[in-house]
Symmetry: C2
Subunit: 477 residues, 2 copies
């Protein structure tokens, strides 16, 4: 093994290359990427748009020079066109269309994802020059910034109230635009339960972001004066009125799908959802070809095989692919879909699964709401943390936790305790056994996560009497 | 079982009573306490002294009325004098010296701890009226506040640079006093490794708190003008000079020891260190007598039986004692000595054990230092989190983590992830498998805890090749 080639210059591909070099400095690592932006932090785009990050170069996790000093050879603006598994060669074209062929001993396919294009009339004809943007790459980012500069928009419509949609709503509001967010589902941040999504919606409203949920965008039209977005109530409520919004810039951010055109052509197996099939070791089944990141299936700790593209997961999978490309046997232990988002002064986070995800997987979930102070109320500045705890009634196992709290309430790291507990297979009841830290300015003797767990145990009626540590409760009612 | 009596009105006793009532509202719960302050948050005292908490009543976790509404009968200003285990009766005296006898079906002894009195010449003769204070109870607190009001001190000396010593240093500095802290050991916050203690010392110095470490207080003397504190270098350095400090108030805060006079007289077994022997179910071995909190031994997840008085532990043990008093079988799963302290704008935290604790317990520890940003550096306000990771070279198991970072860096909840991982028996290497949350304003794709774990794995050479997930590394060097 002397040559490792990674196709894709984002988290998966770069992590694979870095790990390989860390383990064996004699390996020749090449990362091939279609654009000029290796190792950029895509999650940071909203903060460049908002102005928090002044220079887009700073969004790079590592500069080109950093990467090269770590032994990563870069082929930028180079699009992989064909993988020849039999001969261990990848054919690619550069920006000028010139073809080149790169040989490898091991290959990591990390082609990532592409933005979903929802079925919106007009979307296929409109693009950045009209002020209509998808947003996934640094190229997309430059196009958005160009629209903001040249069009000087006063009104923005964002289609999709997921993580990126809400972050971009905050970013554009910070630039002084009047922002409207449209979400087809009944609540913003649909990856959280409705009551928590509604708290986030309240925060958006408090910052003058207009939100329409249960509203499906049907068409976008451009004329000389700007853009018109047509939307209709999701579903078939005959009394609900359609909506017509005017804006100078429209962002369509409704999720992604795996980018696997190259992989399919090479014969790599893909799932129904289009993600590359990999095993827990990130092997594809084809000789010497591994894959990682947003283009592959995700092993979920509680759900098994799914598709759940996240930067953190791509880093892990890439690192494992890099290790195993060198003969390692490291296993991807699985995602919990842990996510966090800052929306103005609120932070919303989740880990694990919710009822509607748990039921099809064979669990008997019960979700219990609770709320408590982030720290002792007598110390100034205490705020409320809202928690939803999901446990399995049959086994008592902790399945998921969702939280919303103020930006100072450490919700982002409190969720990590829950993620660690789920990873370790702990029961809801066992959260009370955890020796968590306490000082009055920063916490409570029972962390709000533990108080929420105790609430769950008090409310949720176990089916069996087999919960860890709950024998006394079962017996005593 | 109809009558539960708890001796002690702090975390252990109150938690026991509350849990019993939660499980069975027919139980008659009485909490007997020697002072008038049931369920007070002793950890909050520094924030009352600093002025952050204006009214000392607010330091109560629950008011007297709250407790009574939850079914807790309170016998305040009532000192238990004798437990008669055979007849299930406790004899007590009230403030006027009147004796009364209270019967019980189950008893929870939660008499807590008393402040240690270090061997300082003069300390036995001096007290609050001289401006010399121990600090452990609300009564002590009122005495300190009285000294601050009546003596109007300009200079304070604090003996002991542990958690309470440093919190009080901050509190008195906030009141405008010139504060000097004396610590017999070589670093402040001796429960952390020296390099982290030194960061805390730097924070104290930056806020004009004078610190002398490796300095043992030998005598305190009072005269008409104030107090003189005499100290000498700890150990026997012949070149080190003795120290003489003048102040109007002196706090001696050098730890606590279990308060078990009552328990011993009743025949409860105590350890060499003087703590009541209890099993994992908080049973004392005497019929119908349980014990919890700062007066009992602490089961430590990694060390077994030890003595480690902490409010969080007292809450847990009390809750378990209350449950088991009603026939439950809940087990105390153990402490990890998780602690956190805010010192001005820094937060220092630890969980698990350090090298010098691990070696006598049979581990082969290695501690590796690392540092990283609390969130992506491109987003404004990133600060450095310093981490020391301790793992067992033989098994790869995570044994301990220590952290110091700015108050906004969520060190207090990052340590909880480590505490959860140690509780679950995870290896250092497994920290990289955890699906922790990430968004650029609040974190990194690899949390600093994970980056520190990767540093540990890269640096620490395993004795065997048996680390979880490290097969590839062992093979590839």
């Amino acid at each position: 093994m002397t040559r490792l080639l990674c196709i894709g210059g984002s988290d998966g591909g770069i992590s694979a290359g870095l790990r390989a070099r860390e383990l064996d400095a004699s390996v020749e690592v090449t990362v091939m990427l279609a654009d000029a932006y290796p190792n950029f932090s895509i999650c940071g785009i909203p903060y460049y748009v908002s102005g928090d990050v002044a220079d887009w170069h700073d969004l790079a996790h590592r500069s080109r020079a950093d990467l090269e000093s770590l032994g990563i050879g870069l082929l930028t603006d180079t699009t992989a066109r064909r993988i020849d598994v039999a001969t261990h060669r990848v054919t690619a074209t550069d920006a000028a269309g010139r073809e080149q062929t790169v040989g490898y001993d091991r290959l990591v396919v990390a082609t990532g994802a592409v933005p979903a294009r929802p079925p919106i009339a007009g979307l296929e004809r409109l693009g950045p020059t009209d002020g209509v943007h998808l947003l996934h790459t640094m190229g997309d980012t430059h196009a958005v910034m160009d629209s903001l500069t040249t069009r000087q928009p006063e009104r923005a419509v964002i289609v999709g109230a997921g993580y990126i949609g809400l972050e971009m709503a905050e970013a554009l509001a910070a630039r002084g635009l009047a922002v409207t967010v449209l979400e087809a589902l009944p609540h913003v941040l649909p990856t959280l339960d409705g009551p928590l999504g509604d708290l986030v919606a309240g925060e958006l409203a408090a910052h003058d972001v207009e939100v329409h949920t249960a509203t499906t965008v049907t068409a976008i039209a451009a004329d000389g004066r700007g853009l018109t977005v047509h939307a209709a109530p999701t579903g078939s409520d005959p009394n609900a009125a359609p909506l017509e919004l005017h804006a100078e810039i429209v962002l369509v951010v409704t999720g992604v799908r795996p980018d696997t055109t190259l992989a399919r052509a090479a014969g790599l197996p893909v799932t129904q959802k289009g993600a590359i099939e990999v095993d827990r070791h990130m092997a594809t089944g084809l000789p010497d070809v591994l894959a990682a990141g947003d283009c592959v299936v995700t092993h979920h700790v509680l759900l098994g095989e799914t598709y759940l593209p996240l930067g953190t997961t791509a880093h892990k999978q890439g690192r494992i692919a890099g290790e195993n490309a060198l003969g390692g046997v490291r296993r991807f232990e699985g995602s919990l879909g842990t996510q966090v988002v800052k929306v103005f002064d609120l932070v919303a986070a989740r880990t694990g699964i919710r009822d509607h995800e748990a039921v099809p997987a064979g669990y008997e979930p019960r979700t219990v709401a609770a709320a408590g102070d982030d720290h002792k109320a007598y110390y100034p500045g205490a705020t409320t943390v809202h928690v939803r705890t999901t446990g399995d009634l049959t086994t008592g196992r902790l399945l998921g936790v969702q939280m919303v709290g103020s930006i100072g309430s450490a919700v982002h790291k409190r969720i990590d305790t829950a993620a660690t507990a789920i990873y370790a297979g702990l029961g809801v009841d066992q959260l009370s056994d955890l020796d968590l830290s306490y000082t009055p300015p920063l916490g409570s003797p029972w962390d709000v996560l533990q108080a929420a767990a105790q609430r769950w145990s008090a409310v949720a009626t176990p089916v069996g009497g087999d919960h860890h540590g709950s024998a006394a409760r079962s017996r005593q009612g």
